[in-house]
Amino acid sequence: MPFIELESLEKVFTVRVRGNAGLFRREKREVRAVDGISFAVERGEMVGYIGPNGAGKSTTIKMLTGILTPSGGRLRVAGIDPARERTRLAQRIGVVFGQRTTLWWDLPLKDSYRLMHRMYRIPDARFRENLDRCVELLELGELLDVPVRQLSLGQRMRGDIAAALLHDPEVLYLDEPTIGLDVVSKARVREFLRDLNTSRGTTVLLTTHDLTDIEQLCSRVMVIDRGRLMYDGELSGLHAVGESERLLMVDLERELPPITDVPGARFVRSEGPRQWLAFPATTSAAPLVAAVAAKYPLLDLSVREPDIEAVIAKMYGGTREERRESLR
């Protein structure tokens, strides 16, 4: 049985907007924040959950933690219906909202950990062990006596991650854990998460706008837009779906007319003797290079991998287009 299971999950909000009818008349409008999402996550998986702003990522996470009740569909985490048994589920999950903190703002970091100790009723020995491990791996030693309000963003984030893990949650939800962090802090957080997943088998669901997070951590990625699941699979598979292209740059002996007679390649642009050709990311570059070399005086070449960011941007853009089309 999958650890997390969603079946046609929906969340519809009713918002009132001031219409044209008059100052006090308001029109009700339905917003389908999550519009029929289904997926399953096995125990021990590390999954990226990405999408543009307002796609429904956080709404999904809020339903998974039980703080929002779904409008429709079915949802189970560890066999529990989150909205009904929020408190019981809370013992088994950890949550980090990158832009919010669970720590006591005015008090030293260690006071918040003492609170977690009581809140999750963690046995003393286990608490010490987990805290020591987090302190070591997240380098929190010198911060324990510092009031949270004096911590830097990166320090606070590490403090929050530790707070979410002291009770040994089986699953960790991370909502933009690297937002606003510098390169070094990001790397440290990623390394910690990777270790957590491999050594403890903690299931991790990660939402982020930083695709490097996904590339470095997640073998599986889910893309949502407008409350719908657009893609669910390996990161590399996104290229096929997103029809992404690789770029072949060739340096010829001299300036020549655009190369348009090589099958499978599309001329992009040229700059003196240098030309750029695009070809589908799913095909091999070798026959293409051979074909170019056979017909043209080739000096040098290089291949640029597709940019995952561009792929996803294209994907979002595509859905927007389709939507606009369907509205017409």
Binding site: F13, Q91, V95, R100, L107, D111, R118
Partner: protein, 267 residues
């Protein structure tokens, strides 16, 4: 679970204890207001001795009790509710909601810790200054002080329950300021911060003394002044206790409705 809420209460106490300058400023303000009101009351009781059944010494004690309890019982707000409303408005409430703890019990514990600090930090000094300056009525012995403290604890609980209900409205209104203003004005008048409720004439006085706000200052002050004898004291506690129960229940219902239906703000 009790240990958790004890930890939350201890945290509430220490959080506010970290702001020493704020405490000092609060003590100063309460003391100044105590003097202003004292001279006003002296002038009034000079004209109308035994007004509302109080001697001038009783009336002066009432002034300084009011100053001491202002943040403990939340007659005029300014307590935990500002923070709670802000958390609802910004969506930080999401963090509170996914915890394996009850929202109301959590905030009540934090309020209890904070109130304990406010009573010690902001209550004792103005009261002592006032007693030194005006020689007002004191309770009869340790028993009287103890009875007063019980009434203060109950009053603080009712104060929490009122403001919790006010804060819950932010789930629907998003900006709780309007409701806070109304509650502030209502609290100012009906708690007896301006004038003791037993001074109010006729039906207005009857009604004011039955409302929950009477639990915040009027009842603790009357317990302090020894106006309740024997079973009357139990009756006064019961009055506070009943309002606490009713308002806690209402707060719970609002909380349940809010967490079931309402949007948690922000991404």
């Amino acid at each position: 679970m009790l240990r958790l809420y004890a930890t939350v209460a201890a945290g509430g106490f220490r959080r506010h204890a970290t702001y020493r300058v704020a405490t000092a400023a609060g003590v100063f303000t309460n003391t100044v207001f105590g003097f202003v009101l004292s001279y006003t009351y002296i002038a009034l009781w000079d004209e109308r001795p035994q007004l509302g059944g109080y001697s001038v010494d009783d009336a002066l004690a009432y002034v300084w009790i009011g100053q001491a309890l202002i943040t403990v019982c939340g007659m005029m707000g300014g307590g935990f509710e500002d923070e709670l409303i802000e958390r609802i408005r910004t969506g930080d409430i999401a963090v509170d909601l996914y915890r394996p703890a009850d929202l109301q019990a959590w905030w009540f514990s934090a309020h209890a810790g904070r109130s304990a600090y406010q009573l010690l930090g902001r209550g004792v000094v103005p009261m002592a200054v006032g007693a030194f300056a005006f020689h007002f009525t004191l309770p009869s012995g340790p028993g009287g002080w103890l009875a007063f403290l019980v009434a203060v604890a109950l009053g603080s609980t009712v104060g929490f329950a009122i403001w919790y209900l006010v804060a819950m409205s932010a789930f629907w209104l998003l900006d709780g300021q309007g409701v806070v203003q109304v509650a502030w004005l209502g609290g100012l008048f009906f708690s007896g911060m301006l004038l003791p409720l037993n001074v109010f004439p006729g039906a207005l006085g009857e009604v004011a003394r039955m409302l929950p706000w009477a639990s915040l200052l009027q009842v603790p002050a009357d317990v302090y002044l020894g106006k309740y004898v024997g079973w009357e004291l139990a009756g006064a506690y019961a009055f506070q206790g009943c309002w606490a129960l009713v308002l806690f229940g209402a707060g719970r219902a609002a909380q349940a409705a809010a967490t079931r239906k309402v949007v948690v703000q922000g991404g």
